[in-house]
Every structure is written in structure tokens, then in C-alpha cells.
Symmetry: C2
């Protein structure tokens, strides 16, 4: 412990879980950098006795990505108190396995409470966008986050033979789902506000080439800096696909409608990070994050800071995700100094 | 054996494999009716010695449906010589398991040659459409089959984050696939020739809610009584989706393009079936089949006959597929008498 007399702890971390194809930096960089930073600051605290007023801890938050279990940001949301541990354990993957059972199976279903008082959180992450690269900047201090709406829609039609069944008698859930995917992009373009949107996961039953699909589930997303835009696009989209699906004899139901408002990260933390970047002679931007991050969930409980380094070509959730070692080193230097200032600050 | 002095055999049968959700009649009815018919005719041959000039055998053709392994009509195509046994064994399911290994695992990978000479094939099946029901007819003698084109298309985009990745930079294989599904129905309606079409199976990688899809495969079908219509719709569809996918940065490639021409079933067999139906005081139609059947594959080697009984509401490939027991009995009576005439006919 850096400051045995104190119960206060600054948590540094991120997540080790990834999307099915990685990349290798998304999350993992922040956990490993956090481990190294705590070790380095432990040495510094020993060399400068009495300076550290608070302790440090490293966190690896469970299921940040939401690739296997939805919703994402699971561990950090439990920490923040916006999701109960019971709700988190009850989440089920596509095969029906619960998160609680999956954690128990790898011996990670623990119950040790943290016996220190978390007062701040700091997360170092790759940007996953191209704004730092385009601005030729080294570091972003993230000030806030876009709003997001994640809607999972079930399309219920009826199984029938893809051959003889008259076209007019079919209730084709796949056709309704395909039309809905197009409708989402159409509504985003109609709004013309620069929203981001996707339909990236689909589940089809029975998914046989010769059976008109009886049941299709699609996971849709809309993101924008303005929560009202996200809400409006989502609402218009749902009204439209209900009408268009009905015209195909397909009923829709909403399996999930998760809304994340815009979020502000701690402004004092942004100031600390910007001061460190300046003092290290690096170039900083202040950015909004489009992607969700554990820091956003944690900000609901304690002040949280999020620091970005560039991502080559803005590419992420891809095995070719890449950040140059020098850029990683700059981020690490900023993290170490930021943490040191946070554990040594008088207030 | 009905006629031990003869090497000739009339084969009766269908298939026991089904789509993931059945129905219970599609295929199974024809195999069970065949078994009972052979037993009944064995008794009749004993009671009328010397009448039977040919033998009977029952066949259960492997993988008629093509639900797990594509293409369908596998066993009957091997029998007909249009698919080699090696090609059939090498077919792989969605998990990469070969048909040869799957058959060996259930001890069905046999090698016993048939030591009789097949001369005719007869298959009793449910209609899977609504034409018999609408005509209030009991039996259809199937005269011919629609053409079909089954195209499996791979859409190759690039994985990226569904959040921060700029919309214009995405290469979204799911979006291209959804647009292609709509394009297929649009091309069918534009042709306005009454073609049937479907997109019923999809495979998405990595299929995570937060990763723009890198690779999507969709199984498309077009069917029509006129082969030229099927070809034209398929060609226009492929040209269109190549162009539309390219505009999304997505490349398409054709994983399979299976074309089945229109097929005529043996006309002498149609006459035998119609004669039997008339003699039994039932009402017959002569129909085209829209669906593929083992009889169509087998007709390429020996004369084949296909007999339909009604399907309630035309519904098939659905657990609610249903044919009334009385209608099943009528079909069975027609099958028994048809087979008897075929094994006793002088030529």
C-alpha cells in the first residue's frame, strides 16, 4: 500500500475481455498499463516517503464488451450500483448459459468485498476512432460520452416451405428483419444529424435454407451526442418497422431497449490529465467518446477519468486494431503522472 | 421377394430426414407407406401366385431436405449418378462436420450394393402446397417440376466498432446482405411472373452486437416453372447486389450456384396413377411440383412417379404441417394399387 494510513483508493483499470476477433489493445492496454503504473508508483512512493496520501488498486472489469452477455459494462455497472450482482449473474449468453455459472466455471465467481474506499477511477484506453490521428495529437482527455440506444427486436413470422408456399401466404421473419435493417440506416440518413447506427448481430430460427424463417432477432444500435436525436431516431424506427413488418404478416416485439444518456466525466479529472500532458510536452485534445467505457459506468458512483491514445485508421473491434508502441508509451507516461498527482494531491 | 425369378425391382420410398421443425409428414409418410405397401403386396403375391413379375424394395434417401448439408436430394442424386459418393461424403455442415463422418458416427455409412436392377421408382408425399385442397381433390399425379436456382452469396466487409467508426468508413457486410435480401424480392416482383423466392439461412461473423459484421453468407432461392425466368431473375439479382454491395465497400462472392432445370416425370407413370385413382373412385389432379423431391433426382436414371395427398392450408416445413388420416389412407390405397400394377404389368 502506498499510504497505509489512508482508507482511500484510486482505482486504475479497464477490461481484459474482447470482441470475438479482438483487437489486442481495446481494454487490455489499460489493465496492463495500470499494473505497471501501480508498480512504478509503489517504487516512487518508497523513494519519496510521506508524499502518497491515498492508495492505488487495479481493476479488470468483467464483460465490458457485451460480446457474449448483454448488456455490456457489466462489472463496472455492478460496482457503480446501477446493476445488482444478482441481475449480472442472471444474464444469459446465446446458448442460455448464465454469467454467474460461466464465472463459477472458471473460478472467477468471487465474493471478497473491497476493504478500501474508492474515491476516483482512471482508465487508459485506445481511442477506437480517428480524431486523434487526424489532429496529430498524442492524448485525449475524454470529457463526455455520446448517448446510445440499443434495441433488440424479435420478428415473429411462421415457418413454411420456401418452395411451394404461395408468396402471399408467407410470414417471413427474415424478410421483415432485412427490411428493418435498411429502415434503420434510412432513418439515420433522413435525420441527417451525423448519428451512428448498426445492426451487427442476428439470430435466425430455424435458419435452414428451405424454411421461411419463423423467428429472427436483431440487435440494433443508434448513437449520437444528443440524446434527443437518439430517442427520436429510435422511436421513428420502431414505429416504421412495426408497420412494415405487419404488412408482411410479421409481428415485432422489443426484447431489450437499453438507453444510455449522454454522460459527463469528472471535469477536475480532465484538468489533471490536460495539465500532465502539457507538462510532459505532449499534445492533447479534449474529446467526446462515442464508444461505451467502464469509466462511464463508474462515473455514476465516483469521479472517473478516461484517457485515449490514437488508434491507427480509427480501426477497432478488428484483429488489425493497432497503436504504435511510442504512442502507447506516451499514454503510459500520462497515466503514471496523472495517478501520482491524484494520490499525492492535498485534496 | 415377390418374383424370385426376376432381377427387376420397383423401388418405393421417400426420406426420413426433416427440417429442424419437421413437419411429421414430409418424407416420413412416403417411407412408412412404402413399408406397409410392400408388406401388403407380399401377402397379395402369395395369394395370387405367378402374378408378380418384378420385385419391390423400400428406400429411405439420405438428406433429401438439405437442412444440415447442402445441396439437398443427396442420397437420391448419388443413386442417380449425378453426384458421386465421394462428393456426397465430402459435404460439410455449418460446423464443418462431413456427411461421411456424420453417417459413420451413427453407423449408417454402408457399402452394400443393391443386387437387383432398379427399373422404376414411386414416391408418395404430402403436397406442401394448397392446390389439391383448393380443388377439393384427393390425389395429384405429379407430371413435372419447377426450375430452381439456389445461390449462396458471401458478403465480405471489415470488422470495426459499431460506435466510433465513422459511418462512411464502414464496410458493413450485414447491411449489404440485408439490402440484397430486399433486392431479391424486388427483382421477383419486377419480373411479375409469379416466381417464388426466399432468403432463409444466414451466417454472420463475428455476430457480436458491437462489431460491424465482417462476413455474412446468405442462402437465396428462386423458383419458377420456366427455367429462363429463374435464370434471368438470378442474373439480374447478382448484378444488382454486386453493384449495391460495392457501394458499401463490401465484396460479394458466390459460394454456390445450383441450378435445377424444369424436370418431366415419367408420363407412363402419371397414366398408371391416374388410372388407379379413377378406378378407386377418387378425384385426381395432374400437378407440377414446386418443391424438390427425390423422385426428381431419380428420374434422371429410371422412370419415376410422384404422388401427392393434400396438405392442410398448404403449410409445410412447420410443426403444424398436417394431412387428415382419411386423406393419408387414400394416398396409401393409390400407392398400393399403383405398385401392384407396376410389378404385375406385362411390360
Amino acid at each position: 500500500m502506498l499510504a497505509p494510513a489512508s482508507r482511500d483508493v484510486v482505482i486504475v483499470g479497464s477490461h481484459l475481455d474482447t470482441q470475438p476477433t479482438g483487437g489486442r489493445f481495446d481494454g487490455i492496454y489499460g489493465v496492463l498499463a495500470g499494473l505497471l503504473a501501480v508498480q512504478a508508483l509503489q517504487d516512487r512512493a518508497v523513494a519519496q516517503p510521506g508524499r502518497a496520501r491515498r492508495n492505488l488498486a487495479v481493476a479488470n472489469w468483467t464483460n465490458e464488451e457485451g460480446a457474449r452477455f448483454q448488456p455490456s459494462l457489466t462489472g463496472s455497472s455492478v460496482f457503480a450500483g446501477t446493476l445488482t450482482l444478482e441481475q449480472a449473474y442472471a444474464l444469459r449468453d446465446g446458448d442460455g448459459i448464465s454469467l454467474g455459472d460461466a464465472l463459477a466455471a472458471i473460478d472467477y465467481r468471487g465474493s471478497s468485498p473491497l476493504d478500501l474506499q474508492p474515491i476516483r477511477y482512471v482508465e487508459l484506453h485506445v481511442e477506437q476512432g480517428d480524431r486523434l490521428e487526424r489532429a496529430a495529437a498524442d492524448i485525449a482527455a475524454v470529457s463526455s460520452a455520446w448517448a446510445a440506444r440499443k434495441i433488440s427486436v424479435v420478428f415473429e413470422g411462421e415457418a413454411s416451405h420456401t418452395g411451394p408456399m404461395p408468396m402471399a401466404s408467407r410470414r417471413d421473419a427474415m424478410r421483415a428483419a432485412a427490411r428493418a435493417i435498411e429502415a434503420l440506416y434510412d432513418e439515420v440518413e433522413r435525420e441527417n444529424a451525423g448519428a451512428h447506427a448498426s445492426a451487427a448481430r442476428i439470430s435466425v430460427f430455424p435458419n435452414s435454407p428451405n424454411v421461411v424463417a419463423a423467428r429472427v432477432q436483431v440487435w440494433f444500435e443508434v448513437r449520437h451526442e444528443d440524446e434527443a436525436v437518439v430517442l427520436a431516431i429510435g422511436n421513428r424506427f420502431l414505429e416504421r418497422i412495426e408497420r412494415e413488418s405487419a404488412s408482411l404478416g410479421v409481428q415485432i416485439s422489443i426484447a431489450a431497449d437499453e438507453r444510455r444518456g449522454t454522460a459527463l466525466l469528472d471535469s477536475a479529472g480532465v484538468d489533471v490529465v490536460c495539465g500532465v500532458v502539457r507538462d510532459l510536452g505532449l499534445k492533447a485534445l479534449t474529446l467526446q467518446t462515442v464508444a461505451g467505457h467502464d469509466a462511464l459506468a463508474i462515473q455514476k458512483r465516483i469521479p472517473a477519468s478516461l484517457i485515449f491514445v490514437p488508434s491507427r485508421d480509427g480501426l477497432s473491434h478488428n484483429p488489425r486494431e493497432f497503436t504504435d508502441p511510442e504512442a502507447l508509451d506516451k499514454g503510459y507516461a500520462v497515466l503514471v503522472e496523472t495517478l501520482w498527482r491524484m494520490v499525492t494531491a492535498e485534496s
